[in-house]
């Protein structure tokens, strides 16, 4: 029985990720929580995944984020403009 409460970090890292995508069974959630109480490295890991999630989302919502970094190549612009002319 003791195994239920002594998850390995390798497995916990996978479970933490999976718990971000679906609700895990209570037994697993308790096991993760118990492991995290004792393991500061896995606590860091969990925080890091949360930060990544927030950062990826934040970039997406940043004003002008998509306008600045990339310019659609002129070749593509001209091609599209040509195509659009025919439709006017």
């Amino acid at each position: 029985m003791i195994n239920h409460w002594t998850f390995r970090c390798e497995d916990v890292s996978e479970m933490i990720s999976r718990s971000m995508d679906e609700k895990m069974p209570l037994r697993i959630r308790m096991g993760i929580r118990f492991h995290l109480m004792m393991c500061s490295l896995c606590r860091n890991y969990k925080k890091q995944l949360w930060i990544i999630h927030r950062a990826v989302e934040k970039l997406d919502r940043m004003e002008n984020f998509y306008d600045k970094p990339m310019r659609l190549p002129d070749q593509v612009r001209e091609k599209l403009k040509d195509l659009f002319k025919d439709h006017e």
């Binding site: 970090c9 999630h53 990339m70 593509v76």
Partner: protein, 207 residues
């Protein structure tokens, strides 16, 4: 409480019966490329991490918009409308891309993750604390630049899985279908994507 109960139906009402004078109209299609081209390109690139595919998607989106311009209902802005079309195009193109693609790049990266742990499954060198205040970290441009860089360095399918999940909030069921993988492999891909992301960030951020 009453407001809460009726909230959704009022909302629905508003969308359907929006007065005509509040509806926006489309600008001439010939101006779309200059007005929205870079935006759509950047938006697509952030999700597919492939310049060529992103360019194709911009073209497909604008062509589809041109065909559908008479059905633009004037709800929301032109930009939102185009972005909506692009989102559909992204999912479609990923679905096409992976329809015939075998899932074979798994083993190599699995090993890489496995190597981060000792034979007892404990971290060899554990994840560090990146900041005492995570909110502060999210304000730093240098950190956000690393996020972008690391996203780009992910294996293709991992990057696509992550963007569908974290940006579009798609369910794992949908992601499995789009990426043409089993449910188990879907979780593995997402786990691997996050694991590699955090490794890349840690290497770049703490050096």
């Amino acid at each position: 409480m009453i407001i809460c109960q009726h909230g959704p139906s009022y909302y629905h009402f508003e969308i359907i019966y929006m007065p005509a004078d509040e509806a926006s109209t489309l600008s001439p299609p010939t101006t779309w490329v200059d007005t929205y081209g870079d935006y759509l390109y950047g938006f697509a690139f952030y999700r597919v991490q492939d310049e060529e595919l992103a360019r194709e998607l911009v073209q497909e989106t604008l062509m589809a918009a041109l065909k559908a311009k008479d059905s633009f209902a004037g709800r929301g802005s032109e930009k939102t409308w185009l972005t909506g079309i692009l989102k559909h195009k992204i999912i479609d193109s990923l679905r096409r891309k992976y329809r015939d693609a075998m899932f074979e790049d798994q083993d190599l990266d699995e090993r890489k993750i496995h190597d981060s742990f000792d034979h007892n499954g404990r971290w060899k060198t554990g994840p560090a604390q990146w900041a005492s205040n995570p909110e502060h970290l999210l304000e730093q441009k240098a950190f956000l630049d690393i996020i972008r860089k690391c996203l780009h360095e992910l294996p293709e399918r991992s990057a696509h899985a992550l963007s569908l999940r974290e940006l579009e909030g798609e369910s794992t069921q949908t992601i499995c279908k789009v990426l043409n993988v089993t449910a188990t492999n879907c979780w593995v891909i997402l786990h691997r994507a996050r694991f590699l992301m955090r490794e890349c960030i840690e290497t770049n951020w703490l050096q």
